[in-house]
């Protein structure tokens, strides 16, 4: 163990204490796709104690241009199984949990409850609202990344006074603004960059090392190779979910219709073709 992580132990800002905290932490990665691939691989490699992976989909050939955790041999098989096997191959000393479901209001509380930190590596708007609400209810920090086309975005929600997803986006955008990778394409390495940065933020939150991107958002433009890190609003006192007078309960959560709220499906398979 000491030898495996010796390059971490040598780091003055990280060291034995950082590695110990990592080994005692549990992190849930929601989505084993373009973002989830590097997140899961780097979290497994660095030695988090327990790594959970949730995804209800199977590996498809047109995932492989960006989802580097999946081998051709797994096409047609469960993404979660594929990702978990890959993680175990690079680090057999950690505990990898597989959840071969789509995360839904009916199962999210039960799964998320078991973890210290949640990584949103999903690909659709209703799931993003749902994960954020769930993290607020269970008081878990949420490392949220997104990538589309040649751009990526990253922030840490509900941590150190930072906002939740609903503080920033109280109302969902019009349906025509909900493009997905399957509609508009994505340059494969863009989610790679964002996913690595998500893994980094998860490690920082887990070990309490450095300044995580709480209250800040990273905006990445691959074409021009420009990266902005901007200051965003804090948690809103009037937020319907994380605000002072929020009446949103776990019961409400389980009954909330996220697909209807966003007018957008949770599963990529039924996504209509949209153009912005």
């Amino acid at each position: 163990m000491i030898y495996r992580y010796s390059r971490h132990l040598l780091l003055p800002d990280f060291g034995v204490e950082g590695q110990r905290k990592l080994s005692q932490s549990s992190i849930l990665v929601v989505g084993a796709g373009g973002l989830g691939s590097p997140v899961a691989l780097y979290l497994a490699a660095c030695g988090v104690g327990c790594l959970g992976i949730v995804d209800g989909d199977d590996v498809e050939l047109n995932n492989l241009h960006r989802q580097i955790i999946h081998k051709e041999a797994y096409v047609g098989k469960s993404k979660v199984k594929s990702a978990a096997d890959a993680c175990r191959e690079i680090n057999s000393s950690i505990n990898v949990m597989e959840y071969h479901h789509t995360l839904k209001p009916s199962n999210a509380l039960e799964i998320v409850r078991k973890y210290d930190i949640v990584v949103d590596a999903t690909d659709n708007l209703p799931t993003r609202y749902m994960i954020s609400d769930c993290c607020v209810l269970l008081n878990k920090p949420l490392i949220s990344g997104a990538a589309l086309g040649l751009e990526g975005q990253l922030t840490v929600y509900h941590h150190n006074g930072s906002p939740c997803y609903r503080c920033l986006f109280p109302n969902p955008p019009p349906v025509a603004a909900c493009q997905r990778c399957s509609d508009s394409g994505v340059l494969g390495v863009v989610p790679g960059v964002i996913g690595c940065l998500q893994a980094l933020e998860a490690i920082k939150v887990a070990t309490d090392v450095g300044e995580p991107l709480s209250g800040r958002m990273l905006l990445f433009d691959a074409l021009s190779a420009r990266i902005r890190i901007v200051k965003i609003r804090g948690s809103s006192t009037v937020c319907t979910v994380c605000g002072e007078n929020s009446a949103f309960t776990q019961d409400d959560f389980q009954k909330f219709d996220y697909e209807n709220f966003t007018q957008s499906p949770m599963s990529d398979k039924s996504a209509p073709s949209l153009d912005i």
Partner: protein
């Protein structure tokens, strides 16, 4: 020690991202613009800028940029790399050489 350039043009940099650039001519992301303050006191506030952008830059589907007198849900506005909610929102006053970014939030992965 700052002189307000009363009635002279204000130079702003406007950037559009996350797909919003598709609403503009040639999908250009960065626009250097000169704005004539037209509210009498030489000021440019965000509300006025939004109207100006709609009239002068948006080429199609303005409903994908504005809703009512503000930006549509899902759009973040940043003034000099800071969320406009922290600077006064629609009433935020712009200064010479400010950089205003309009970015649509992404959901893909």
């Amino acid at each position: 020690l700052r002189l307000l350039p009363i009635l002279s043009a204000m130079h702003l940099t406007l950037e559009f991202g996350g797909g919003l650039e598709l609403l503009l001519e040639k999908s250009t992301k960065v626009h250097k613009v000169d704005l004539q303050p037209n509210d009498g006191d030489g000021k440019v506030v965000m509300k006025g800028l939004l109207a100006w952008v709609k009239s002068n830059l948006i080429k199609e589907r303005p409903e994908m940029f504005l809703k009512g007198d503000s930006v549509r849900p899902g759009v973040l506005v940043l003034i000099n790399d800071c969320d406009w909610e922290l600077c006064g929102g629609l009433d935020a006053e712009l200064e010479e050489k400010d950089v205003v970014v309009f970015i649509s939030t992404l959901h893909g992965g």
